[in-house]
């Protein structure tokens, strides 16, 4: 059974001239037992979608199911099976980290002091648990935020920017912690982050959202399969650009006389033939594996360019 099933989800804010469609027809399935990455530029509709999944915002249209139960009608499914951290970790600044966890646990009817203590220990916060939240660094707040999502041992954990403010060591720890939640404890993690390197390392599947719509979704390995970029060094980069951009997405490289071409390895002979027939000399050709970041930028830029072309 899917952990999250979203169909035809729409959200419109405002009325008349001020109407803004934040989410437009999102269909999404998150299978249980995986880390699912939810990516998109700022204002793409990620947070609005997450808030609708958590019933914080009412959808204008569409259905949301958590483990087969509609969040709009079966409210207890959220209480019983979901732990979430939205928009980073936000807590009562005048309470300690421990007290904040106690309050969240009591609010959900899942308060057990042992579990609070155990989570503080797992997240490395035991020594600092009794300090006021307002004295915490962003990274410490994030750790308390992640601990809060695990109160009551939910099956589905929704994390919005969980590694914000953490140092590299902390990021690695949290990354491993999230992976263990899925691999060892059998949880499902729905993760929204702008750190694409993180997403690539941690997620099994991703969905890329832009302008309120899902533009790509699939397994990370599938999306990146065969995705390479070619870098060439030439004596006439402008001529080469004109020739290549007719067939491939081409851009000037950071280094002078270098071009980067979004193409597969199999395209290399065609590229070279095209350039040589135009009497353009090629000094070096390098293949470069595309990262999720490259893929994300290519997908969102393509959308943007498409829009400009239509305009």
């Amino acid at each position: 059974m899917a952990a999250i099933q979203v169909s035809s989800l729409q959200k419109t804010f405002g009325r008349g001239k001020h109407q803004v469609r934040a989410v437009n027809h999102i269909d999404l399935t998150v299978e249980a037992g995986q880390v699912f990455g939810f990516l998109g530029p700022n204002g793409a509709g990620k947070s609005t979608t997450i808030r609708m999944i958590l019933n914080l915002i009412r959808p204008t249209r569409g259905e949301i199911y958590i483990y087969g139960q509609s969040v709009q009608t079966a409210h207890d499914v959220l209480k019983a099976r979901v732990g979430a951290m939205v928009d980073g970790a936000q807590f009562y600044p005048f309470l300690s980290g421990r007290a904040n966890l106690e309050v969240v646990a009591k609010s959900g009817g899942v308060y057990r002091q042992k579990q609070v203590d155990s989570l503080l220990e797992q997240l490395g916060m035991t020594d600092r648990a009794d300090r006021l939240m307002q004295d915490y660094s962003t990274g410490m707040k994030q750790r308390i935020g992640i601990a809060a999502t695990l109160l009551g041992q939910p099956d589905l954990i929704i994390l919005d920017e969980p590694t914000n403010g953490l140092d590299p060591k902390g990021i690695r720890e949290i990354r491993q912690f999230i992976r263990d939640l899925v691999d060892i404890h059998g949880k499902t993690v729905f993760l929204s982050s702008h750190l694409l390197n993180e997403i690539e390392q941690i997620c099994d599947r991703v969905a890329i959202v832009n302008h309120g719509e899902i533009v790509q979704q699939g397994a990370v390995a599938d999306l990146l399969a065969g995705q390479v970029a070619l870098r060439i060094e030439t004596d006439q980069p402008q001529v080469a650009y004109q020739i290549l951009s007719e067939h491939w997405q081409t851009q000037a490289d950071e280094q002078p006389n270098w071009l980067t071409i979004q193409a597969n390895r199999d395209d290399t002979p065609h590229i070279l033939r095209n350039l040589m027939s135009a009497d353009v000399s090629v000094y070096q050709v390098m293949t470069q594996r595309r990262t999720l970041e490259d893929y994300f930028l290519a997908v969102t830029d393509a959308e943007h360019n498409g829009e400009l072309a239509h305009a």
Binding site: A84, Q90, F91, F94, G108
Partner: protein
């Protein structure tokens, strides 16, 4: 539900500066004022007559805190503190961005109801302590100064006092519920502590001065019946019920004489219950239908 109540209590009492300056200030202030008086009586025994120039009426001292929110002048000032407290309780969650943590974990109706119950309970507790402090301090003042207490303590006085005190507590309770509801409605609409406090005060002040406004409008528009609308406001019914309880007759404020007929105690009590329940339902409805975007 017990866990929810405990969480709310932990949050409200944990916000020490806010609760200190808006709620505990009443009992602490009472202790301070009376302690100062007693100290001055010890230090300056010759100034006794100047310090205690009014009779020590213990019944009034016990009941004072319960009726202090009801008056028009000082009452409005006194009400501003619990309004700020309630605004921080209801709007604080928006300001801190914490609704996002707790709203998916519980029914919204439960969350708002529990906030309401604990906020009212804390305010009632503060008034109760203040009342006890004020009452007991009067006995101490009498002991230190040698001044006699009024009225004389006997079974009959005590019996009358118990009835009056129960009525004062009931009215104080109703005022607190209305204050909490006004602040909650304002907080739900503005989603800000400052906005909630200012708008809550605005509603209170507007209602307090509604009678002269209606009176003026009725004369200007030549519609004398317009003034009858005032009979349905909480302020009028609170004053009318208080008068009934204390004097056994309807309010005789000169403005009220322009109303059609004196209203019964049952009418005013019924109206107050409708206001208390109705305004809470408005709060619950507003919260239940709104998108939590902060």
């Amino acid at each position: 539900m017990r866990n929810l109540l405990s969480a709310e209590w932990q949050k409200m009492t944990g916000h020490r500066w806010m609760i200190g300056f808006t709620v505990w200030i009443f009992p602490v202030g009472a202790v301070g004022v009376f302690a100062t008086f007693i100290l001055l009586l010890f230090l300056m025994p010759d100034s006794k007559d100047r310090l205690l120039n009014a009779p020590l009426v213990w019944t009034e001292q016990f009941m004072g805190p319960w009726v202090m929110f009801g008056g028009a002048g000082g009452g409005i000032f006194a009400r501003s503190l619990p309004i700020v407290f309630c605004a921080s309780v209801f709007a604080g969650e928006f300001s801190w961005g914490t609704w996002k943590n707790i709203a998916p974990r519980s029914q919204r109706l439960n969350l708002i109801f529990v906030k309401f119950v604990i906020a009212v309970a804390i305010l009632v507790l503060a008034l109760m302590i203040t009342s006890v402090v004020a009452g007991l301090a009067t006995f101490m003042l009498a002991g230190v100064s040698g001044q006699s207490l009024l009225p004389e303590m006997n079974a009959e006085t005590l019996s009358v006092f118990m009835g009056d005190y129960a009525s004062a507590v009931a009215l104080g309770f109703v005022i607190i519920i209305l204050i909490a509801n006004y602040a909650a409605i304002a907080s739900m609409l503005t989603r800000s502590v400052v906005g909630g406090a200012v708008a809550g005060m605005g509603i209170m002040i507007f209602e307090e001065f509604l009678l002269p406004i209606l009176n003026l409008l009725a004369r200007l528009l030549n519609t004398p019946d317009m003034i009858q609308l005032y009979r349905f406001t909480p302020t009028y019914n609170l004053k009318n019920a208080t008068h009934w309880v204390q004097m056994g007759e309807p309010s005789n404020n000169q403005f009220y004489l322009e109303l059609a007929q004196p209203d019964t105690l049952l009418f005013s009590v019924g109206l107050l219950i409708v206001w208390c329940v109705g305004s809470f339902l408005i709060v619950a409805w507003l919260f239940n239908r709104q998108d939590i975007t902060t």
